[in-house]
Amino acid sequence: MSTFDWIVLFGTIFLIVTYGIYKTRGSKDLEGYLKGGNDNWWTIGLSIMATQASAITFLSTPGQAYADGMRFIQFYFGLPVAMIILSVTFIPIYYKLKIYTAYEFLEGRFDLKTRTLAALLFLVQRGLAAGITILAPSIILSSLLGWNLVFTNVFIGIIVIMYTVSGGTKAVSITHKQQMAVMMGGMILAGILIINMLPVKFTEALHVAGKMDKLNIVNFEFDLSDRYNFWSGMTAAVFLFLSYFGTDQSQVQRYLTGKSLRESRMGLVMNGFLKIPMQFIILFIGVMVFVFYQFYQPPIFFNKVQSEKLEQSEYSEEFGILQENYAQGFEAKNADILSLLEAVEAKDEVRINELKNEIALKSDHQEQIRDEVKSLMVKNDPFAETRDTDYVFMRFVMDYLPQGVIGLLFAVIFCAAMSSTSSELNALGSTSTVDLYKRSIKKQESSGHYMLSSKWFTALWGIFAIIFASYAMLFENLIQAVNLLGSLFYGTILGIFLVGFYMKWVKGNAVFIAALIAEALILLIHWKNGSELFGISIDIGFLWYNVIGCLAVMLIAALLQPMMSDRKPGSELN
């Protein structure tokens, strides 16, 4: 990277962090520190979007589109539906109760143990996830920038801790605005530059992408084991988004900062309007990078560090031969693509189909060569990371985009890492303070005392996240395990909340036992997924765990309630 890129990168980070600290100095009580500063709807909307947009969104999503097309977008079709349900049901109740955290609602409606259970599940899952939110981009950034991994973890962690601890929720939402501006500005600029760099017209680029199955945006075929289709997006994903936006404190805290109920609702609606187009842009950029690499030869492996390692190993000769084959394969495929464009121009359907098949075969052949390279890498180093889709986009940026823009795109990734981490730390600090410390440990202290403890908890969670990120690499598959943890708990937590909102006759004991049984069921299904359970063969996409967990809690709680002896009425909420 050039000096100019470094200036752009560090300048952006420095400005955002110092602005966040400066604008929020001197908060004096817990209310201001945890609930922020009466935000308007667009600040809330941006903050919600910035929280969900992690660095992995910007690193993986274009790579995913490059490899697998745009079908991932269907996952977000359920988001607007979830935003409406939240606006109608969840937010009015949270506002009425004037709560700091989502879990406070559960005590009023059920009992302390249900509140504590939900808060603890959140702390465990989000606390580990915060480590991964730092680690996942660190792995890629450290490799691209040539930094030490632990240093990268500490760098991202410390800058986030600085402004999140000092300014609390207000600092988080203020910095989110700038981070979103950098993220969307950077991505749109990159998109425009890529389209301008294509050697063919835009419509021709779309034909190339479409004929090579990268514009497979909507698929109406129903298949339970298929992760992304219209039906899973409109059903299972709704449950996931309800749980994430309605019960995960890192999101709930974003819209509880609103000036009024109206502003919070509008913030969620804004997210409902903009999220799908935003994902479309990011995925579309990935597809345009794909089209670009149909005309300019792509690297055989996108992670430069790994391919350089192979070049210097005893397998360098074999690697060289594979690279030559790959280059020849590329030339042959490129000739077919040019013929395909001529056939499209001539509207010759027979020829188009012939060429589509021919190109698909040649693409498979290129993939086989890449597979051989990957097995060489494993031969050379059994622990070598052979997945390179996360490197596709930034490698393209570094190889082809102009000076300054490279720095800006790195700033995009850092901003994304900061925006999601800050929300997580902020929520972990609040939940530790409000749901555990203030509720069950020290009940009668001053607001200033709780604000200070909230700062301490936020900092401690930040340090925990950094340490976890730095050691997590030592354990294989830990990242997948933590990501999975979310989908294993989310359905159950949503079920508890939905029972709270919609099944007023169900009380604390019934829902608590139902939640434990439902969670055991989800773990059992996950354990047996892909094989047989009770004589039935099961093969379920992970998104459906959210639906099963949630419905199981509601059903079991309904069945258990008549058998329960507790007659203590839940508080009347509506």
Binding site: M83, G210, L215, N216, I217, V218, V269
Partner: protein
Amino acid sequence: MNKMTNWTKVYFLLMLALLVQIILYYGLTQYFS
């Protein structure tokens, strides 16, 4: 439309935007495949 509250109108618009996007994306999928 006159009987709808402001919020119902907002939610209706949101669903309409979703529908338009799905139709647009489906059109893109079909036209260029």
